[in-house]
């Protein structure tokens, strides 16, 4: 069975914004990068053989007792502090009960009304230079679920699946769920604010070193809640919850789509249904999931097998002292280190390239080179593929080391700029490392002075009139001869060097 998703009527974003104010709430789940799971000593290695990192605790076997991962709690507190949250002096875990095969215990260990962190904020910078403050409701500790593979029917999707196959390696990996308060007043900037928030959060978590924050691998996942208020109203509308919006670009698109869809529903006099929605990356639309109903009755209660977590104020302050430089401050510092203009820095930030450039510079590239190679052809192709540059580059296996190598080929004099561009395209086409591509394509500036001199002599002999003009002092005429030398050497000569040799031969220099 193939499933085609039928889009619902949508108003244009502009029409929607003319009548309504969007209100957003974002829930971000972040997998911590601890070596072990939250409540047992099973490893958390990504991509391990199915069900190879599972034990009686994460399998929920009777009698198994969980014990909290100390580093998981520390990471949770550091995240809370970085988000300017209060840290609870005493809190408990709770069981969120539901019967679904992704959790063999039949409950998820989470936190309910006593999150470890609450009441914080994160300031995010927008492309127009303004700042939007996102208020944080809470950031609580929980555990990830197993991974289901739906077999039969359309691949991967649950509809039409005959059965599901479950791998519990992921079940029990520590998760932090970060929930915002309703985000109001963003207006037409709402999609950008959503994206900028997730991007800032990703930067922050990366700087904290608590997570790989790889949206493409699912170690950071985003649910987008959205509702509309008629202009002038202060009553929140009914919200939809779009699940698993897992790239920065998709976050922006999903908000934009839901604004248009809600507006069309409201404008036609109907009511928005409170429901979960599925995001479809390929078509950029959402479709109805399930309605909120009595099926969602989690019967939370305090987890009896885990004692309360009560971080002392000393512990909290010690952890506060380990917080890294705030990413916004850091960006200002990097801009100054790299010598980028405001516009260049903003482009780099908006393209999500800061970390990649930092890694590339650390690997030995110049800041200008790092910016040039990551924001040119790669960015163009990533955009065509509707992917983030970082995700896209990773999928191609293109790394900072490739940029360093490419730059070295230029600075060593082997390649000129246009050759380097050809080589980079080859690297992006999967033809190998820059050196391998240059070798395979025979790209090499003519370094052999003999070959260059021979070409110059031929060109001078073939153009006696031009040569005489230059001898007579019309040095600007040299351009015509350089052009012919380049042609004779099939573009593999260095133009500057060709100029020097011509002028030497004509006794002008």
């Amino acid at each position: 069975m193939t499933t085609t998703h039928v889009g619902e009527p949508v108003l244009s974003f502009e029409e929607a914004l003319a009548a309504y104010d969007p209100v957003m709430g974002l829930e971000v789940h972040v997998e911590l990068n601890t070596a072990t799971k939250m409540f047992c000593g099973c490893a958390t290695t990504f991509g391990a053989e199915p069900n190879s990192q599972v034990c009686p605790v994460c399998l929920g076997l009777p009698g198994a007792l969980p014990v909290v991962n100390e580093k998981g709690v520390e990471s949770a507190i550091r995240i809370g502090l970085a988000l300017n949250c209060e840290i609870a002096s005493w809190c408990r875990f709770a069981r969120k009960n539901y019967f679904y095969p992704d959790m063999p215990k039949n409950f998820q260990t989470s936190q309910y009304d006593e999150p470890i962190s609450f009441d914080g904020h994160l300031d995010v910078e927008l492309s127009d230079g303004s700042t939007y403050r996102v208020e944080i409701e809470r950031a609580h500790m929980e555990e990830d679920t197993g991974k289901s593979l739906h077999v039969g029917g359309s691949t991967g999707r649950i509809h039409g699946a005959d059965h599901s196959l479950v791998d519990y390696n992921r079940a029990g990996i520590p998760l932090i769920e970060i929930v915002t308060k309703p985000m109001l007043g963003a207006g037409e900037q709402a999609p950008e604010v959503a994206r900028a928030y997730v991007s800032a959060l990703r930067d922050l978590l990366k700087a904290l070193g608590v997570s790989d924050v790889r949206m493409e691998q699912g170690s950071m996942r985003c649910d987008v809640n959205l509702s509309l208020m008629p202009k002038g109203s202060t009553t929140l509308g009914t919200r939809s919850e779009t699940k698993n919006v897992n790239s920065l670009r998709s976050v922006e698109r999903a908000v934009r789509y839901e604004v248009g869809r809600h507006a069309a529903v409201l404008a036609s006099g109907r009511r928005v249904v409170q429901e979960t929605r599925h995001w479809h990356e390929d078509t950029g639309i959402t479709t109805s999931g399930r309605e909120k109903s009595d099926a969602e009755d989690y019967r939370y209660f305090p987890e009896p097998d885990l004692v309360p977590v009560a971080p002392s104020r000393e512990t909290v302050e010690a952890l506060r002292a380990t917080l890294p430089e705030n990413p916004a401050t850091r960006r200002k510092r990097l801009q100054s280190d790299w010598g980028y203009s405001d516009l260049e820095m903003r482009d780099v930030v908006n393209a999500g390239l800061v970390e990649l450039i930092e890694e590339t510079v650390a690997a030995g590239a110049t800041p200008a080179g790092a910016r040039k190679w990551w924001s040119g052809e790669v960015a163009r192709r990533a955009n065509t593929e509707a992917q983030d540059v970082v995700t896209y580059a990773a999928s191609l296996g293109v790394t900072p080391a490739h940029v360093v190598e490419l730059e070295e080929l230029v600075t060593s004099g082997r390649l000129n700029d246009s050759m380097a561009r050809q080589v980079w395209e080859g690297v992006l086409d999967g033809e190998g490392s820059p050196t391998a591509v240059a070798d395979a394509r025979g790209l090499q500036l003519v370094r052999d002075d003999g070959a260059l001199e021979a070409a110059v002599d031929e060109v001078i002999a073939a153009n006696p009139d031009v040569a005489q003009k230059i001898r007579d002092g019309k040095v600007q005429a040299v351009g015509a001869l350089i052009g012919q030398v380049m042609k004779a050497t099939k573009g593999q000569a260095d133009a500057g060097q060709a100029r020097t040799v011509i002028l030497e031969r004509l006794g002008v220099s």
Partner: protein, 99 residues
Amino acid sequence: MAELTRDDVAHLARLARIDLSDAELDRMVGELGIILESVATVQQAPTDGVEPMSHPLPLTNVTRRDEVRPSLGAAAVLAGAPAVEQDRFLVPRILDEEE
């Protein structure tokens, strides 16, 4: 406490994905009612001046270091599965639920 109703039991059965016939529902209402009534005896305990508690031991911050310990191994884990495919637990399809 309020009496357990037939609707409560039907709701719980649905949450637990247990298919109960009408006769079974009737029986469970009675049986669960007796269990709840028995447990409700604890409500007669004098608790004036006693702080609410969720744990019997006055302990906090029981943690372990983030050090890997051996897992069971896929063969042992899957030995308990009713059905296995591709080294994964095979479970029936689930309708009207998200991924």
